[in-house]
């Protein structure tokens, strides 16, 4: 008999399924049931670029301590896909568990000696209970949830309640689903040793936290931030941002009497048209955004340059993924940092925001529009597939009832009549931000012709060098203003004084939190700084100054944030040590701990790369 892993509320379950088999809702039911028992759980979709037939995985990390990052390894594999059997079995930790459909015999060679095998004849049970092939497939998923509930001590009443909520309005479906759940549960209780060494026990560790996807949260942020025009082109993993925006707008922005909407959404013919529409709408005073991913940002380059030079507010929600083609693009990366920061031709720099979870996706999704109007420039909200397309436990979304939308420097007809000088590119306030007028404002004042470059402060056509330089220097002043307005980086000081630091951003956050705990237990102390925006505020420079060496943890090959820091802050590159995860899987605490511990000896941190004398 292999040893049995023993753990309560601290394990990883990975479901291996076939895409399109209806497993997603059953797996979600499983994760949700654990959350309802008051135990933090984080699901992750690992899915192919495919609609039906290819392998797909759903990983649930259960962690009473609230570690929401990916852990690595599997304690219980639910192997429902013969295609991936071998690799799924290989990933199981020694002493872990393998749950499989035992309707057909499997050769001994397909099992591992150090893994506990749990066979449930799912297909046989389905075939006996149902005649309709589609029902056989769908209920098989619910049956395995039932069996797992018995094996992991998940409360039946919780699952019944969730099924009732899920099928509310389609009440006929509740009873058969509950029956299928109990079919699996009863079989397991009767035939298997329940519970396993790993199990769930009711706790109160969730509080008022909510469970949602970052894409939906960012879209809701856009609604709260006053976006009324959305133009987009379908691309994974960002399509669900636009789809969620439409859903939220139908709910919150539709006139009940007329059925008319206080919003406009256009699925454009490509990303060029998407950003073109956003720029046109924003030029004309509506808050507008597009949602896209890396390839879309590539296509938008020319327009982004125009928006930078012509100073048009525009919001781009970029849900990052792997590079071109299909396949890797359904995996996570932080690889658009540089292509967004310096998007386009000519001398350009853009404002980027890096949310860590759905709550910040909402917050930044709204704030981006205030920043865009205030700074009159494109703002990128840098989501990632990891937080965009996975449901994540996070603090509830918050909105200050007193908050007003900041429309920035827009001159009204009254302002123009008050004889204030209007020069579209005139720096009146010394912050680099000029005033603008919207088309249609005044019968005789304030009209101007919008161009990229080639203009003077009064928006008159000018090919003169000094006029160009004057304008470009003002844009730098504006960028310095941006550094004061964007969300500042958040420091997490170590408990003991240290000269070593670590910088991270975006979806790395939960893995980093966990890694810092583990490192501390190993007597390795690091001050941490989570960057939330570009341009960098003074706190980033101060953090770098205060440490001899700093690790920069990111999820791309080329250490793009490091490049940005070195380039923008003039830091000696040798002082920033990259820790890079870029295979498409979400970064884990194990990875970070190993990478950092390897480079540090004991608790005494020394500069990692001394200059050669």
């Amino acid at each position: 008999m292999p040893q049995r892993l023993e753990a309560t509320n601290d394990f990883v379950v990975k479901f291996a399924n076939v895409n399109g088999s209806g497993s997603a809702s059953a797996n979600r039911l499983f994760a949700k049931a654990i959350l309802r028992m008051g135990v933090p759980a984080t699901p992750r979709n690992i899915f192919p670029s495919n609609i039906q037939g290819l392998p797909t995985w759903y990983e649930v990390r259960v962690s009473e301590k609230g570690y929401l990052g990916a852990r690595g390894g599997i304690d219980l594999a639910v192997a429902m896909n013969p295609q991936t059997w071998d690799r799924d079995v290989k990933e199981i930790e020694p002493g872990g568990y393998l749950f499989y459909d035992s309707s057909k015999p499997m050769p001994d060679s397909k099992f591992r000696k150090d893994v506990n095998v749990i066979g449930v004849p799912l297909t046989e049970m389905c075939n006996n209970a149902y005649s309709d092939p589609r029902q056989r497939q769908l209920f098989k998923n619910i049956i395995y949830v039932g069996a797992l509930a018995a094996l992991l001590d998940i409360e039946a009443a919780v699952v019944e309640q969730l099924l009732a909520e899920q099928f509310k309005g389609k009440d006929k479906l509740i009873a058969p689903n509950v029956a299928a759940f109990h079919m699996g549960r009863d079989w397991a209780l009767k035939n298997l040793q329940c519970p396993l060494g790993i199990r769930v026990a009711r706790r109160d560790a969730i509080g008022d936290k909510i469970f949602l996807e970052g894409n939906s949260a960012a879209a809701l942020g856009a609604v709260y931030g006053g976006a009324s025009v959305c133009a987009w082109y379908p691309i994974t993993p960002s399509s669900s941002v636009a789809e969620a925006f439409e859903r939220h707008c139908r709910r919150y922005r539709t006139d009940k009497e007329t059925g008319k909407g206080r919003y406009a959404i256009v699925q454009a013919e490509d990303e060029l048209a998407s950003i073109g529409m956003v720029i046109g709408a924003a030029w004309n005073g509506a808050r507008a955004f597009t949602a896209t991913s890396g390839p879309g940002v590539s296509l938008m380059q020319e327009f982004l340059g125009l928006a930078y030079f012509a100073e048009i507010p525009a919001v781009v929600i970029d849900v990052q993924r792997g590079g071109p083609s299909t396949g890797m693009p359904t995996r996570n990366q932080q690889s658009d940092v540089l292509s967004c920061a310096y998007a386009s031709h000519g001398d350009t720099k853009h404002v980027l925001l890096f949310p860590e979870d759905p709550r910040e996706c909402f917050e930044f999704g709204a704030t981006a529009f205030d920043l865009a109007d205030r700074l009159q420039t494109p703002i990128f909200v840098m989501l990632e597939l990891e937080i965009g397309m996975n449901e994540r436990l996070c603090a509830p979304l918050a909105w200050d009832p007193a908050r007003k939308l900041d429309r920035g420097k827009v001159m009204t007809a009254a302002d123009l009549d008050a004889a204030r000088t209007f020069g579209r590119y005139l720096d009146v306030d010394g912050d680099g931000i000029p005033y603008r007028t919207l088309p249609g404002t005044h019968p005789s004042k304030g009209a101007f012709f919008t161009r990229g470059t080639t203009k003077d402060r009064m928006a008159r056509y000018s090919e003169e060098g000094p006029d160009y330089v004057d304008n470009m220097e003002r844009l730098l002043r504006k960028f310095a203003t941006a550094a004061r307005l964007v969300p500042p980086a958040i420091a997490k000081p170590a408990r003991e004084a240290t000269r070593a630091g670590v910088i991270y951003y975006g979806s790395t956050s939960p893995a980093m939190d966990e890694a810092l705990d583990v490192l501390r237990e190993r007597n390795i102390h690091l001050d941490a700084l989570r960057i939330r925006a570009f341009p960098f505020g003074p706190e980033v420079e101060a953090f770098l100054d205060a440490h001899d060496s700093v690790f920069l943890v990111e999820q791309n090959r080329d250490a793009q944030m490091r490049t940005l820091i070195v380039n923008e802050l003039g830091v000696d590159p040798a002082r920033i040590v990259p820790v890079l995860n870029f295979d498409g899987s979400p970064i884990t605490a194990r990875f970070i701990v190993n990478a950092i511990a390897e480079r540090m000896t004991g608790a005494n941190v020394k500069p990692l790369r001394k200059a050669v004398p």
Binding site: Y252, A264, N284
Partner: protein, 351 residues
């Protein structure tokens, strides 16, 4: 081009329109195009049309791409906001602008390089969405600013100034606009102001996607023997199917023509287009018939001009999207932001 600045004074007896504006109030800065350029005639026609319609200049937004034609919005409607965007992408910028404020008049100015080559996709999609606009292509069959390369509307067999013969089939933007569902399609010639001005007026008043292909010879690079876009060639092959007058809404309609010679078409805004038929059997309400007619005449080497198709009840993008009547750029915080109470309910649904 001239380098002498336009004098600001005006003759006290200049006629004014219903708003009290003179024609000068619709002008822009002095043109920097070549002397004799067809595009300047189109700018003049736009100025005339807006003056005659008594449109408040600041309620017009003029948008363009890149190229000689796209430079022209500086030369008319100086009191209107203008946007010189990127090459071939005016249609998307105009679409977005229109979404933000449905109450302005949108005038898109483009060229054959801008719309038929780099911007063919955006041209097509703006038309098929039914964006409420007047889209004018100043079509000279050549790239002017980059000095004389063929454009995608150049006829096969047409000769460039350097003597090169074009071997590619031309793209007919009028035919495309008809196929893509434009609800107002016209073609004219920059040298025929009497036809062009009323066509622009009718297009500006149209409540959907209005498209005018305006042949506009390039005096610098495409006005020679062997070109099918020269002034001489177009004059010799211009076949107008109709002439029109535009009678704005609420204006008195007087009969100048004997019955049977004219057809009155009422547009959605109440204005009337009075068509004086030249080709007796041409029917402006028959989209398929128009396509066939155009292709037959093109085969015969003729350039068909006039109002070629009109749908009196166009459906525009805002109607399709069911957007609110109030312009989106004028919505208040309360109309946009659902507030803290709704957010609490949203949070509660996610536990």
């Amino acid at each position: 081009m001239t380098y002498i600045a336009k004098p600001k004074f005006r003759h006290p007896s200049l006629p004014t329109n219903a708003l009290g504006f003179t024609r000068r109030d619709y002008e822009g800065t002095v043109s920097t195009l070549c002397a004799g350029c067809g595009h300047d005639s189109i700018s003049a026609a736009i100025i005339q049309a807006c003056f005659e319609l008594s449109l408040p200049p600041h309620r017009i937004a003029k948008l363009s791409g890149i190229g000689c034609s796209s430079k022209t919005p500086t030369y008319f409607l100086g009191a209107s906001h203008g946007f010189n965007s990127v090459h071939g992408r005016m249609p998307s910028v105009l679409t977005g602008a229109n979404l933000a404020n449905r109450e302005l008049v949108y005038l898109g100015v483009s060229g054959d390089g801008d719309s038929a080559s780099i911007g063919l996709g955006q041209f097509a999609h703006a038309i098929r969405r039914g964006v409420n606009m007047l889209y004018i292509v100043e079509n000279n069959g050549v790239y002017g600013l980059t000095k004389g390369q063929f454009s995608a509307t150049s006829d096969r067999g047409s000769k460039s100034k350097k003597g090169v013969v074009n071997t590619d089939e031309p793209i007919d933007l009028v035919g495309m606009a008809l196929q893509l569902g434009a609800t107002f399609v016209g073609r004219s010639f920059s040298g025929d102001k009497a036809q062009l001005v009323p066509l622009i007026k009718a297009g500006l008043l149209h409540g959907g996607a209005a498209f005018i292909d305006c042949i506009s010879p390039c005096v610098a690079f495409n006005n020679h023997e062997g070109s099918t876009r020269s002034f001489d060639y177009v004059r010799a092959h211009n076949e107008a199917v109709n002439r029109l007058d535009v009678i704005p809404a609420r204006a008195e309609i007087t009969a100048d023509y004997a019955p049977g010679e004219t057809v009155d078409v009422r547009q959605h805004d109440g204005s009337v287009i009075r068509l004086k038929k030249v080709a007796a059997d041409y029917d402006t309400s028959d989209r398929v018939g128009a396509l066939t007619y155009l292709q037959r005449r093109q085969e015969a080497g003729e350039i068909v001009t006039g109002l070629l198709y009109l749908d009196e009840e166009p459906v525009d993008l805002h109607q399709s999207l069911k957007t609110a009547e109030k312009p989106l750029n004028a919505l208040s915080d309360a109309e946009l932001c659902p507030g803290a109470g709704e957010l609490a309910k949203f949070n509660a649904s996610l536990r």
